[in-house]
């Protein structure tokens, strides 16, 4: 039986729990206990994690997944999975998958720190105007080092805002996918892996795109785990249909650091639990690790980089294809944005994560382009080639952090794609390239 049906039937027959009780007792309280039981701590004054912490985070996360289960909000009931089932799912999970099609296919896999980094480029769900959607997507696809694309979302169609679950949401999903296909053809990489249907909060965008063949085998759709340890029928339906159509599931694991998952230590434990539950309930093929700070948001905060790092370390015991999201607070055109990207990249790569991004301005404005992903990928490759160690990478990241810390809470969103790029030539403007190269030289000289 398909995993998605198992999750549904388990939940329907499972324990009824009020959502608030699930959040406070099954998640928050238990996570606090697990932090103590397994000795998982985060210390802001000394934030570089010990590499040995991965085992404790994995074991605590595994325990949480078994004990708490996955909450199905439509039923207010919990789907539980036995310990043996999780182990079996882990054993049978693929740690390497081929994504994309034909000559544009690439391998996305579990990686040791010295392995090649799979790079996703794109604005990843950021509201992006249709008039610049193709050009901005193509700017990422034109970067040879970008292996897959996860681009923006369409928020308005025919002059009207999209409404969740309505035909307008289907249309937005279709427009997004048609535009992506045009962009990939333009760049000469039609078979590039697409993580798509970002325009749909629920399921209708994905379902529409799959039914019309715009989301195809070799592509993936986003399957969020709802905060925290929750799902709904939209996600299960999408995952189920995707499984039937050969469309991969990309689980989004985005615990709120400072929310029900507690601080960074608890959020790391919750992340592992959500990865395991997404694997067993969605049949997800790869996993996006995206801690969101409750106030500061960006993945480049110390707290969120710590979570990404220790989840990467915990993955040594899961060996799954994990991807670290790089979502800075600042945006394209600013130096702070580049510092954030560099710090986040350093930490993620030495922790064993692949990369997705960078997504500027906390994913709120389309203020970036493909050359930003080139900057990120160039640094990732250099870290791998030079065999930069875990502690050294963290040390460099902390040095960089000093340069943008003050701008996390009051970020400069930067300039939109059409100001950073010549949209007719899909080429970065000279000023933006110069800022990037000056920043690279500055980092090389001073850090």
């Amino acid at each position: 039986m398909a995993r998605h049906l198992i999750a549904e039937f388990r939940a329907r027959a499972g324990e009824y729990v009020e959502q608030k009780r699930f959040d406070l007792e099954r998640v928050s309280r238990r996570v606090a206990e697990l932090e103590k039981e397994y000795g998982v701590h985060f210390d802001l004054s000394s934030p570089v994690p010990d590499e040995s912490i991965g085992k404790a985070v994995f074991e605590a996360g595994f325990t949480l997944a078994v004990e708490a289960g996955l909450y199905l909000v439509d039923e207010s009931r919990v789907a539980k999975f036995r310990e043996e089932e999780l182990w079996e799912a882990l054993k049978s999970a693929r740690n390497r998958i081929v994504v994309g099609r034909g000559r544009d296919a690439r391998t996305l896999g579990y990686r040791e720190p010295g392995d090649r980094v799979f790079v996703f480029g794109g604005l990843a769900g950021t509201p992006t105007p249709l008039e610049f959607f193709v050009e901005s997507a193509a700017s990422y696809a034109l970067v040879p080092r970008v292996d897959g694309i996860d681009h923006g979302s369409v928020q308005a169609v025919m002059g009207e805002m999209v409404r969740s679950g309505a035909p307008s949401e289907v249309l937005a999903g279709l427009r997004e996918m048609e535009s992506l296909r045009s962009a990939l053809r333009m760049a000469g990489r039609p078979g590039m892996h697409v993580l798509g249907a970002e325009s749909s909060v629920g399921s209708v965008g994905s379902l529409g795109a799959m039914s019309l063949g715009l989301l195809r085998p070799g592509d993936a759709q986003l399957l969020p785990v709802l905060n925290e340890l929750k799902t709904d029928y939209h996600q299960l339906v999408k995952a189920y249909v995707g499984g039937l159509k050969g469309v991969l599931g990309a689980a989004l694991v985005d615990p709120v650091v400072g929310g029900f998952a507690r601080g960074p230590a608890g959020s790391a434990i919750v992340s592992v639990a959500e990865i395991l539950l997404a694997m067993v309930a969605y049949g997800a093929s790869y996993f996006l690790v995206h801690p969101v700070h409750i106030v500061k948001k960006a993945t480049s905060t110390i707290e969120c980089m710590w979570v990404e790092s220790v989840v990467g370390l915990a993955n040594r015991y899961m060996r799954l294809p994990l991807v670290g999201d790089v979502w800075p607070a600042n945006g394209g055109g600013t130096r702070e944005y580049l510092y954030e990207v560099a710090a986040n990249t350093l930490v993620a790569v030495v922790s064993g994560l692949n990369l997705l991004g960078p997504v500027p301005a906390n994913g709120t404005q389309p203020n970036g382009g493909g050359v930003d992903a080139m900057f990120m990928a160039g640094l990732a490759d250099r870290v791998v080639e030079e065999n930069v160690g875990f502690n050294r990478a963290w040390g460099l990241a902390l040095e960089l952090y000093k340069r943008y810390e003050a701008r996390i809470m009051s970020p400069d969103p930067g300039k939109p794609f059409w100001e950073l790029y010549d949209a007719k030539k899909i080429a970065p403007r000279k000023e933006w390239l110069e800022t990037i190269n000056e920043t690279i030289r500055e980092i090389a000289q001073n850090i």
Binding site: A138, R382, K425, I426, A427, L433, I440, R441, I443, A444
Partner: protein, 76 residues
């Protein structure tokens, strides 16, 4: 240790001509940095000395031609 080389080239798409454009801004720098190795080799082939122009711009009808040219530069 300089962790990262500057971004020394771009591949863009000219919507008016429908061509892909490979642009290397400083052949000497790319040659020395060997950025992504293939580009380094290409820059080496086109670099004609310190006093010669260091900027290179080539247009390709499609992606396959671009890749073929890069392969040629490696094999040459």
């Amino acid at each position: 240790m300089p962790l990262q080389a500057p971004v020394g080239y771009t591949i863009s798409y000219d919507k008016e001509t429908g061509k892909l454009v490979l642009e290397i801004f400083d052949l000497e720098m790319i040659k020395e940095e060997k950025e992504e190795k293939v580009m380094g080799r290409l820059a080496e082939l086109h670099f004609e000395g310190e006093t010669a122009p260091k900027h290179l711009k080539i247009m390709f009808p499609d992606y396959k031609s671009l890749v073929a040219y890069l392969l040629y530069s490696v094999l040459y």
